[in-house]
Amino acid sequence: MTILIDKKNQVAEKIQPKGFLRYFSFSLDHKVIGIQYLVCGFLFYLVGGTLASAIRIELTSPMSDFMPRDVYNQVLTLHGTIMIFLWIVPVVNGAFGNYLIPFYVGARDMAFPRLNAVAFWLIPPSGLMLITSYFIDGAAQAGWTAYPPLSITTPQSGQIVWILSVLLLGGSSIFGGINFIATILKLRRPGLKLMQLPMYCWAMLGTSILVVLSTPVLAGTLILLSFDIVANTGFFNPVLGGNVVVYQHLFWFYSHPAVYIMVLPAFGLVSEILPIHCRKALFGYRTMVFSIMGIVVLGLVVWAHHMFTSGTPPWMRLFFTIATAFIAVPTGIKFFNWVATMWGGKISINSAMLFSCGFIINFVFGGITGVALAQVPFDIHVHDTYFVVAHFHYIVYGGSVFVIFSSIYHWFPKVTGKLLDEKLGMLHFALTFIGFNLCFAPQHWLGLNGMPRRVAEYDPQFQFVNQISSLGALFMAISTIPFLINIFLSIKNGKKAGDNPWRALTPEWLTSSPPPVENWKGEAPLVTEPYGYGNDLKDNKEFL
């Protein structure tokens, strides 16, 4: 059976508004949906960032004087949930995935355009619901992990809104995952083989497999948790004979893969950006593919390393320690492949490249502390301290968020046809990089010395280091200003970029910038070597 996609799209085109308004419509165009994801995610990032600033202001003094303790708990819960479910996951998956994957597979749209639009439009309402729960009866207070019995005993309406909101976001992410798997496996241009795809496709394939396999488990768990709160059942309530550790197992069965859902697409994006700005082919394509798939398989069987202090039996500790340590192998392969890609290349220093290099530096640091945390004796020592906070932020901020900024600098000319200003971009990078390391590197020390996380008050001996950390957070907050100025100025009167400012060979650059509605005026080009830089350049003069 066949479907005439052209007819469908023509109809869609007639119905949909043109120009700026289309970003506020139920558009089926994957490029519009990608930008919707990105801008929506960035707005939530600003909210989550404001909450993070509030946390850092509170922590400049050992007493809880900036806000009451229960408000502090709400703020940290909202900060975690917003940053994970409304900023990083939708942006590294939804935004860049929707914008780039159809180009990379040589298609005119995603496999299921309507499902795609539904997946996006689930996000703004659930995000707003989450934020507004603060004004009703107080937001959830149990952290983004919502561990019972804490989540059962704290004020409940906020927790229920939190559960509803995360369920909707989980649904959105499953719909997205189904769409990506179908697009990458089924919608490829005839003649394009899987092993010829750009690396981001592989990263998204792996991520989507993780999303489809693990997100439903979280959904089921949260449904049980909501029964505990609303219907007075005892699944996770020890008073009623329930078992809190079962919640932790089920929760981390999703939430450990969630770390890979946040960071694997970032790996893919970096693998796209580095070769272009180093003018060299991506080093070790095959090993990259196998290490992504290795991370997917291993990522599903390491969840209990979050629970070494939850009374896990010794055999379980041993198994999960070893499995976690094994993940360092594929990750290390990827790290060395990136370095080897840069090695001897003609590196151009621009904002996109700087953010990617920043990612590599931060990520290797976060990776090393990750391997350390997998070891049971060390983990028990620093469990639930600021060491974990520092490690986690090195992965998701130093990793994913740096890549998001790098990608924005890299693909901004594609979306708008204008270049971003490099000077403001480098200022943005310098402020972010210095601020980030100033903020989170001292937290390793705090954690090793026993400062617990998620507590508004702390021992006065930690005050000085906390103030350094807050100073770093101030830098990070300021760094958003040059970025926003840059975006607005460049959209209005940035330098014209031309169709292919980076002289790239990946398919999205082989059409006009911004691209036409159906991606290509004629046939989609068959790109069998997306990384054919270096010696082959002479043969491709027409594109350079």
Binding site: T2, K186, L187, L213, P216, F235, V246, P525
Partner: protein, 199 residues
């Protein structure tokens, strides 16, 4: 070695970009895998509870077997009748197909009635103990699936009508999708029956 040669491509068939195969079923299978993982999570929770959480003294958790056994047979037969309906539709016999679909939906509704009958005659309620809560969560979540499936069968049944129906041998997808979903729900019930009632 050239990597991109658009000139060659102009000669290639333009059909390829206009048509593509139907992969809605592929998407549905991916969704059902996701749905199956939700059940897997519930089963894992149930089995863990059974292994590590002893029930309080005097808790009743013995289940009667007759009704669930009848239910299992009902669902298995309904899978077969749905299959029959599909075969009839392929032979362009819409009326025959509708007949089999009607039987399938009646079997689904009977299943739900039996399930409710069992609920009302069980010696424990939702919040009595951990086993009771898990029992109702698992069977309830499955019952929700059966309800949705039955509703979809009724819609398909209406759409298979000869004048004006949108489902025919030319447009089998809605039919195939519901059939796949129904077989999935049956398969889950068999696993649920073994784990919850027999183990």
């Amino acid at each position: 070695m050239t990597t991109i040669n658009p000139k060659k491509l102009e000669n290639s068939s333009k059909e390829n970009n206009l048509h593509h195969e139907d992969f809605r079923l592929f998407g549905l299978i991916t969704f059902l895998i996701a749905d199956g993982m939700t059940f897997a999570g519930f089963f894992a929770a149930y089995l863990t509870y059974k292994a590590v959480n002893p029930l309080p003294d005097g808790a009743i958790y013995e289940l009667e077997l007759p009704i669930p056994t009848i239910n299992t047979i009902l669902l298995l037969i309904s899978s077969a009748t749905f299959h029959k309906a599909g075969k009839a539709l392929l032979k362009k016999n819409n009326f025959e197909s509708q007949k089999w679909l009607l039987i399938t939906s009646v079997l689904g509704i009977t299943f739900l009635i039996c399930q409710l009958f069992e609920y009302f005659h069980l010696p424990f309620g939702l919040t009595d103990n951990l086993f009771a809560s898990t029992f109702y969560a698992l069977t309830g979540f499955h019952g929700l699936h059966v309800t949705l499936g039955t509703l979809m069968i009724l819609i398909i049944l209406w759409q298979t009508r000869i004048d004006g129906g949108r489902v025919s041998y030319k447009n089998m997808f809605p039919f195939e999708a519901v059939e796949l979903y129904w077989h999935f729900v049956d398969g889950i019930w068999v696993i649920l029956f073994i784990i919850l009632y027999l183990l």
